[in-house]
Amino acid sequence: MQPADPAPLLDIRDLHVALGQPGRRVPVVEGVSLAIAPGRVLCVVGESGSGKSVTALAAMGLLEPGRSEVRAERMSLGGTDLLRLDEADWRALRGSRMAMVFQEPMTSLNPVFTVGDQIAEALRAHTGLPRAVARRRALDALREVGIPAPETRLDAYPHELSGGMRQRAMIAMALVGEPALLIADEPTTALDVTVQAQILALLNGLRTRRAMAVLLITHNLGVVAETADDVAVMYAGRIVERAPAATLFRDAQHPYTLALLGAMPEGAARGRPLSPIPGRMPAPGRAPPGCRFAPRCPFAGPDCAETPPLREVSPAHAVACHRAPVEAAA
């Protein structure tokens, strides 16, 4: 993302992911490159079917080998080549240098163990720390994520916590191994807005305090604007625009990015209709040749049958569109 940055922590170049049984695989992610430096937040934003979650799953080694194919020019975390890891290596990495938080904490927490036991066990599995030490670290982690009365919550079961507290507990579990990279897939989508704001503030504080790199997957452009340093916009398996967040929300150029912003009720004049995007995103393997957004794009022309490369329009700002930037004369 930051070409000037010499040492990204997570470095993914030209990632391709195909899903399905061998012989019937369909491409879901095509040519995605991402890099995140320590202490920075990269948001990958897109609608359902854009390939954003599959990109995150590939970066975590969570795609089932028999049902997926992951290829990349490079995929590394710190000095570790992620393309050469076996299942045991991945397990060791997840929960130590890399951790993740998902949308629905109730399905990621085990309902029959207390929150404290789960956090302590996650830590013991990677470090072999004595039980009492692990429990103390679990308590520290609950305190750090702002759970009130952490001493009592240590012995609470997941169902005894509110949704926001469960998500905090999940984040505590992710943090206890002191990861260098946190991958969060729609971590606030199931939460109410006041709780969402609390969780985003928490993540923001953590990445600053711990210089942790964060890959945040979201469909919500408001969340992007309020948390991201850098943004990648995905459409039908490809990155169509990427930029520092401050640049994107001043100078977005790809028609799909404009379409997403134009469809949002925020900023639209009251009483004037919103601008929906006609049609729908192509299903994997069914995308038209050339620019995938062209069939839904009001600016598309014959040249869009040719795939537009992701080209830099200004430092760190790249757009995959033959027509960008559209200006009044166009």
């Binding site: 100078d251 404009l258 949002m264 009251r270 919103l274």
Partner: protein, 358 residues
Amino acid sequence: MTALLEAQGLARAYVVGGGLFGPRRIIRAVRDVSLSVARGEALALVGESGCGKSTVGRLLLRLEDADAGRIRFDGQDLRALSPAALRALRRRMQPVFQDPYASLDPRRRIRDVLEAPIRLHGLRGGEAVGARAAELMTGVGLAPDGLDKLPHQFSGGQRQRIAIARALAVEPDLLVCDEPVSALDVSVQAQVVNLLARLRREAGVALLFISHDLAVVRHLADRVAVMYAGRIVEEGGTEGVFTAPRHPYTAGLIAAAPRTDRGRRDHPPLAGEPPDPLSDLAGCAFAPRCALAVARCRAEPPALRVTSPGHRAACHRAEEVPAPPAPEMAADTPLARRLDIYRRARAADAVEQETPHA
């Protein structure tokens, strides 16, 4: 002018536990809610999970009975009506739910979904039924040849429009929409929001719009009622509520909603979570989270009082609630210019009709 729908003093409590499941306890989901919707008006009921907004919707639709309170529709007390009269009245008040996947039978063709209620209520006969079904499809922006398809052949947004067409089939005066766009991607959400706005404008259908999405509410509603812990804490015209909220909870909700025009969030979020619905609080339910709370707030529950014409709030310190920051979308950024160009280009080639994708 009498209101189309008027509710007074609605209350609903649920009993949980008892027997094997621990002590018997009472959840007060709705505690004294009064509201009214005028003909053709859009009232939004907003709040976070557990605040009671969906329960209010269910009480108004008579999907369950209130423990206390009175509901009048077009001047008639729903409790006083005979079953037949209640059925006839129900036709005029139709629900639209969040999940169109769950509310459409996967084995029924759309034609049947739309024609059955028209026949049931005797609104049309013979060939006019089919013509009306085609008209309903066109009305929600779908091609009439979709009538012979099954629900799975439509996308989520198209299904939600079919659910709206079904509600419209019986020519209601009011749609009660519970989070109708929450499950949809933003591009599709815009279609459904536009459709609801057009129904109001062109058919004069009133809306009770239950939602947690403040941006959609601000775009669509004439008036807003904000619920917290089973009560309405603020109610007023949409612009007044958004630009000069008179309850600290409303101000907190507005500040918490993520926006694209402000850059990195730096203000501290509203702390805490809504109170346990099992507990009974002496004073204001919001006081434990409120930056303005004083001793009086913890002792004496604030009544909903008029703070300015048409605007009411239940807060002892309503006049001291700070105004939220105004939108900062600068008109002269390249993005603002391009969004304008984009919207005009989009409007120029707008195609209202869509065909199912399969």
